[in-house]
Symmetry: C2
Subunit: 161 residues, 2 copies
């Protein structure tokens, strides 16, 4: 049986009633830990909206750099690569290279998993590296950061379990 402690004061803390005695509570707060800070991804489409669309599109066989991606997108590849491609032009080149050297036989997106700054998607992809002929099932998590309705950062994290 697993115990998980590193988790949510969340909904509870969010529902706390407004302080009745500001001076007193400020004093108390100073003596204890700092309270949580509210997070926002700004205006426009939310991580839930963008993530839901991305997952649905992927599972329908569509996958393109749509308007959801910012022109200033930073795309980071994970374990064994550890590099960042900065700007849509650089990311487009990476994607074009990948598309030209891989053949995708099928795939599934699971999610979205929705956070405060963005969302994550788990991908399982049946893919062949056409330069080597090696076919494998790639399992990875894409972590997307959203700001003002656009994806400004994506990081691909590869299964290493």
């Amino acid at each position: 049986m697993a115990k998980k402690k590193s988790k949510k004061a969340a909904s509870k803390a969010a529902k706390k009633p407004a302080k009745k005695n500001a001076a007193k509570s400020a004093k108390k707060r100073a003596a204890t830990a700092k309270g949580p800070r509210a997070m926002s991804t700004g205006r426009g489409a939310t991580p839930l909206e963008i993530g839901s669309r991305l997952v649905a599109d992927f599972n329908a066989g569509k996958w393109e750099l749509t308007d959801a991606w910012s022109k200033d997108l930073v795309s980071i590849e994970g374990l064994g690569v550890a590099m960042a491609w900065e700007g849509r032009r650089a990311v487009d080149e990476k994607n074009a290279w990948w598309a030209s050297t891989h053949k995708v036989y099928g795939g599934r997106a699971e999610g979205p998993f929705v956070g405060a700054t963005g969302f994550a998607v788990k991908f399982t992809i049946d893919v062949e590296d056409t330069t080597t002929g090696k076919r494998e099932t790639m399992v990875e998590v894409g972590v997307y950061t959203v700001n003002n309705g656009k994806i400004i950062r994506e990081e691909f994290m590869y299964f290493a379990g």
Copy 2:
């Protein structure tokens, strides 16, 4: 059949031979997109090492804020909460609150999924909110940022598929 284009120039780019003609290639680079930038989490334990330990510990029923977590840890809760707890003391209070209001019947961690700046873990937890008696299977992804061998940031993203 799914097509996935937004992906890796990765291993290929990483294996490129050293430039033979620096001046020429610099010129060429300026005319095209900017090349990728190398990423590092600094010295100390790697995301792969920390993530592997975290997953193994969780699946063995151990879960504590160990030395893997920085004193300056920022802990962010996702969808519907969207708040950040800053510093180990604040995070400890959040965790203590959560532990006191939830009963965990079992759980499983999948991963780690290893990126360039950290790692992700998918959690499936059978948990009861003891304040309401509601028992459910929580599915979420924890995204961990690593710097110099410590987790400096964690964000919990909740399944909303």
